[in-house]
């Protein structure tokens, strides 16, 4: 297991360095002088310009600049936003809980609906239920989620008036963030109605962000389940006279879950990408919306830092999924 872990991490390091090069290159490919961009409309006088250039290391050769950049990264210094002048890591950390909360809710929704649906479809292969689930999941998979979000707002906020249109909580409530998770914070604040307000703000974005992972999980569960159900040991278990629920729930599901876990892990990238659209539509103050805004504000240090941190998160989660896969799949556990 330790060797497996070390090989995996060994493979990750060059990729991560590549990601840092990509993020570093981003600022250098963009046309325009970074100092002039930072100074904005007011401009700088030549003496100050030279001073800044030296201070930022822009007079050094590119490879030295890159090493400098890596050194800053190692100190946790991702630079400063052009727009807010705050350190990027701080901005990211303030906004990340909002995205995490939304993503967690979305993945929980996707698993609690997608997994049983996929199982049901596999067990009743060829039935109307199977066709229905498959059609729905393919539709979900093909959904332009930015449009889906607008439609849901139209229906539930516009016509029915059940849910709020945007944000994380009604402006009536204010409390200091403790965990950064609005559901928990509103609960802790003890203010009447705060929790239900936070919850009602969360429902539509969760559905929108969870739609594609739900569809993918349902499809994957169904095909994994179908494969397992045709195996000899399942037939043996049936022949032994075990009740069907036990065969499916215990023998088949355990093995069918192995590929499904991988797919759930791979959805993290999908979720963070989907967060860009979902957060933009619902004005959800997370990193997806922040990235879009930073791009349109030409706040390149923020884009660079955000991209790097998001890639790091995706890589770490993928590593964890690989490890988990090794843990639950005995075939891999023994061969490594």
């Amino acid at each position: 297991m330790l060797r497996f872990l070390l090989t995996r991490i060994g493979l990750l390091i060059p990729t991560f360095l590549g990601v840092t090069i990509a993020a570093f290159a981003l600022i250098h490919i963009i046309p325009g002088d970074p100092i002039l961009m930072m100074a904005g409309e007011r401009g700088v006088d030549p003496a100050r310009y030279e001073e800044l250039k030296q201070q930022m290391g822009l007079d050094l050769p590119v490879w030295q600049q890159y090493l400098r950049y890596l050194g800053h990264l190692a100190d946790g210094d991702l630079g400063q936003s052009f727009y807010t002048k705050k350190p990027i890591l701080d901005e990211f950390m303030t906004l990340f809980p909002a995205t995490l909360e939304l993503s967690l809710c979305a993945i929980i929704l996707a698993v609690t609906i997608g997994l049983p649906m996929g199982m049901l479809a596999a067990v009743r292969q060829g039935s109307i239920l199977d066709h229905g689930v498959m059609t729905l999941s393919l539709t979900g998979y093909s959904m332009p989620i930015f449009w889906w979000g607008i439609l849901l707002i139209f229906l539930f906020s516009g016509i029915l008036g059940w849910t709020p249109v945007s944000g994380r909580i009604s402006l009536l409530y204010y409390f200091e963030p403790v965990t950064g998770f609005m559901l928990i914070d509103s609960w802790l604040s003890g203010q009447k109605g705060a929790f239900s307000s936070a919850l009602s703000h969360l429902i539509l974005p969760t559905i929108v962000l969870g739609t594609i992972p739900m569809a993918v999980i349902a499809r994957q569960t169904r095909s994994a389940m179908l494969e397992v159900l045709s195996e000899d040991y399942v037939r043996t278990a049936r022949a032994k006279g075990l009740p069907p629920q036990r065969v499916i729930g215990l023998h088949a599901l355990r093995n069918a879950l192995i590929p499904v876990v991988t797919v759930i892990g791979l959805q993290v990238g999908v979720l963070l990408g989907g967060a860009v659209l979902t957060e933009t539509i619902f004005a959800w103050p997370g990193i997806g919306k922040w990235m879009v805004e930073s791009i349109s504000r030409r706040d390149y240090p923020a884009v660079q830092g955000g991209l790097l941190l998001i890639a790091a998160i995706v890589m770490i989660v993928n590593l964890l999924v690989d490890l988990l896969y090794g843990l639950i799949n005995p075939r891999i556990r023994h061969t490594r």
Partner: protein, 301 residues
Amino acid sequence: MSDTADTQASSDNPLAQVLAEFWFYFSENRGAVIGLCIIVLVVLTAIFANFIAPHSPIEQYRDHLLTPPAWQEGGDWAFPLGTDPVGRDMLSRLIFGARYSLLIGCIVVVLSLSAGIVLGLVAGFSQGIVGTIIMRLMDIILSFPSLLLALVLVAVLGPSLENAMIAVAVVILPHFVRLTRASVLSELNKEYVIASRVAGAKLPRLMFLTVLPNCTAPLIVQATLSFSTAILDAAALGFLGMGAQPPTPEWGTLLADSRDLILRAWWAVTFPGLAILITVLSINLMGDGLRDALDPKLKRS
């Protein structure tokens, strides 16, 4: 499984036989056939947009601002799906938009597929440093969420339809490279490859004429599925203002234009999204059918 009449009829022509067999398995999947029909319809609409569309997509009818669809009160049959805030006919804009979406899908897939095949072949044949570098580069692309990477690439290149297509092509590239490399590796040690190597075939011939034709099935399936991803991602970029720019009637851009109107003019928002959904869904249905028909492992099960 018994031969059907049409496989027997064309048994003297090998290509026709392959096609007949393919069609036999493909047509067993009802969803795939429906998907194919809808795609053919969309393609025809796009080609003959000039003749089908009742109006020009950019003509502004100033006395028909935000006309609702014809069947609603206040609707006008001259504008079957209503008009947008500056009086342009929705139906005509959607019909012309089909051109953009299909063209985007085609160009992106052709770009990405051809680059992916070359890189994948090189990575498969050279197991040394070149192959490693290519695969690590693909890993780097894959460690970013695809839409976010596309968005940042467009931001760097400058927002336009061409750059959006390039960005999406880059983002889906790793799938083609990995797939090509994997199939090359599984073919490399087979006897026919060794035989042609011994017979003195040069590397390009080995790559493109000997090995590549035997890797096409998974690539066709992936290309179909990527076609739908490309349309979706390009529409998402258009929606975020980073793809096609107004007044281009690209479907994502149409949505972005009328996004704030949802409570006042549902038709301006609903129909472009529906067009995207139906097109992407049909392509995905077709992709599923293709996979079943082309994957020899699944054929007899």
